[in-house]
């Protein structure tokens, strides 16, 4: 099942205040069946509000949420893990929680007997399945919350910080499970997290949210390509001194001398800056040992998107382009 969000907008007006607060501002994206879409953004950017609007917990001021291109309110097709461990009954055991949430969603206990055991085993909670959930660790509770979300086999899964406060081993289990759910079972998954490594490993596409607006969107590869940075690592033969004129077009990092080579990084405003530097080397017949384009990591992409988002906020006429 595909999930589409069209021009979602949420405005809050505080009592006794005439100034409206735009928590989510004209956000549109879609997630296809079998796809993992990650929403990134700083705290208070509007990620959780978007998830809650998709789940029907918050009514949007305007815009639509479509399941398979049609508006309907059958929320049984989706499950959500919201803010981690706060999703289960602490006085019930993990097994009782699974049965309760299945019954709540119209699925009988008998039909999930096998699946409940399988889920608890897959997520390493089976040893504690008869303990009351209040005795479980935070990581265990998080995994239980995921298990309860999966017990009725939803077609759309909304995961708000699924690995928050979880140990390395459990985080890996959760990661593997999320990947399997999308790739083998065809679920559409929306994920929010501050763990960029998780996004890098899991997400097919990423949307970066700032101040309620989607400032950038695309596959991780495309986003990395499109951060508009010309960052290179250059290694030349000999003891090389950076000429003062270069600073007009490129920022130059500290030089590192070793034996017969000098290594440094340049970050140019545009491709012409790199051309000028290469011309300089050519005219002086400097021997270039290596020239390597530095690939941005996701963190740099994220931070640069936030910078451009801030610029757009200061100058609203300068519309940001989202990358499809």
């Amino acid at each position: 099942m595909d999930l589409s969000i069209e021009a979602l907008h949420k405005v809050y007006t505080k009592p006794f205040s005439k100034k409206p607060f735009h928590a989510v501002n004209d956000v549109s994206f879609n997630i296809k069946a079998g796809e993992i879409y990650a929403l990134l953004g700083p705290n208070g950017a509007g990620k959780s509000t978007i998830i809650k609007m998709i789940a029907g917990l918050v009514i949007p001021t305007s815009g639509r949420v479509l399941f398979d291109n049609s508006v309907h309110k059958n929320y049984k097709v989706l499950s959500a893990v919201l803010e981690g461990s706060r999703n289960v009954y602490w006085r019930l055991t993990p097994l009782e929680n699974l049965f309760y949430f299945a019954n709540l969603r119209g699925v009988s206990s008998a039909s999930i007997k096998e699946k409940s055991q399988q889920l608890l085993a897959e997520l390493d909670i089976d040893a504690k399945k008869t303990n009351q959930s209040r005795h479980l660790s935070r990581g265990m509770l998080q995994k239980l919350a995921i298990a309860t979300a999966l017990i009725t086999d939803p077609r759309i899964l909304l995961l708000d910080e699924p690995t928050l406060g979880v140990d390395v081993g459990s985080a890996r289990k959760i990661k593997e499970k999320i990947r399997t759910l999308a790739k083998n079972e065809g679920k559409a998954i929306l994920l929010t997290t501050h763990q960029l490594e998780l996004v890098d490993q899991l997400a097919d596409r990423v949307g970066i949210i700032q101040n309620g607006r989607l400032v950038r969107e695309g596959t991780i590869g495309r986003l990395k390509e499109n951060t508009q940075k010309f960052l290179y690592r250059i290694s030349v033969r000999g003891d090389f001194k950076i000429p003062p004129g270069w600073e007009k077009t490129c920022q130059v990092g500290p030089t590192k001398n070793s034996e017969d080579t000098t290594e440094f990084e340049i970050n140019c405003k545009n491709i012409n800056g790199l051309g000028e530097i290469l011309d300089y080397f050519s005219k002086r017949k400097t021997d270039i040992i290596s020239l390597q384009k530095k690939q941005d990591n996701l963190e740099e992409v994220f931070l640069s998107s936030l910078d451009s988002g801030n610029d757009a906020d200061k100058n609203p006429s300068n519309d940001l382009q989202t990358t499809p």
Binding site: L57, I59, S79, L82, E83, G106
Partner: protein, 271 residues
């Protein structure tokens, strides 16, 4: 059919959860009953001290039935609003809200699943007072009729509980306000209906409000000394069904409106 099946499944799940809590925390319910029991005895003791040697000139049956009815009502009204408060903190309220059932339906299922325990508590309290005050004249043999009335009264109670739950969704910490209202109900239950001028506005309201009407009917069932009561009860029974049903429907509609407002203001998970 699917809707009915899913609702029954929900009632079953809630009943099972209720039983598990009862089994795991038996002293929670027992201590509540004991606390309620002692309070009324203390009230009786205080009243007898105040009246001196002249003895008590009160309708003990009315006081006891009214008091037991109040605890029956309290466990629904306070229960629903308390659950809304707790579960919005726990995060389970959001899970209930995306279950495919409306929150109102979940609360109704909880009401039905708690009904057997509430009836049991009602009778345990009544019987305990009967043991403490052997002069009481109460027809415990009309058990089925009492349960039927309690069920219909409960529908009216759900109507009011819906309003309380909706207000809790919007304003959160309002528990003490509801407790004051419940004591107000107790005052109404202890009001002698016969003493009200017939046809007066207060008497009419007393006969329309499902809780006071229920009190009047329960007192009638417990104390009316006529073996033909089953025939005489049809009129009050239909009157009770009508007003309780009306309150339940109105409460449900108001709750839906307040729930919608809470969703607009993103209040389901805020506390």
């Amino acid at each position: 059919m699917i809707v009915v099946y899913e609702f029954l499944l929900l009632v079953k799940a809630e009943f099972k959860r209720e039983m598990l809590y009862l089994k795991r925390y038996p002293f929670e319910s027992l201590s509540f009953l004991f606390f309620m029991y002692v309070i009324l005895l203390a009230i009786f003791l205080g009243m007898s001290q105040l009246s001196g040697t002249g003895g008590l000139d009160i309708h003990q049956e009315r006081m006891i039935i009214g008091y037991c009815l109040m605890q029956f009502i309290m466990s629904s009204q306070m229960g629903w609003s308390g659950q809304i408060s707790n579960e919005s903190q726990m995060g389970t309220l959001e899970q209930l809200s995306i279950s495919g059932h409306s929150l109102g339906t979940v609360l109704l299922a909880r009401g039905f699943s708690q009904f057997p325990r509430q009836v049991l508590s009602f009778f345990i309290l009544m019987y305990a007072y009967l043991l403490a005050m052997p002069t009481l004249v109460l027809h415990f043999d009309r058990f089925a009729l009492v349960v039927l009335f309690l069920f219909i009264i409960a529908l009216g109670v759900y109507g009011i509980a819906y309003i309380f739950a909706g207000l809790t969704l919007l304003f959160k910490r309002v528990g003490f306000f509801f407790q004051i209202i419940n004591f107000g109900f107790l005052g109404l239950f202890w009001q002698n209906r016969q003493a009200l001028p017939e046809g007066s506005l207060f008497a009419r309201l007393y006969d329309m409000f499902p809780l006071t009407l229920g009190m009047k009917n329960l007192l009638y069932v417990f104390t009316y000394n006529d073996p033909e009561i089953k025939i005489a009860i049809f009129g009050p029974l239909f009157q009770q069904v009508f007003f309780s049903g009306l309150f339940a429907a109105a409460g449900f509609v108001l709750f839906r409106l307040m729930e919608k407002k809470a969703r607009q203001m993103a209040l389901l998970s805020q506390y």
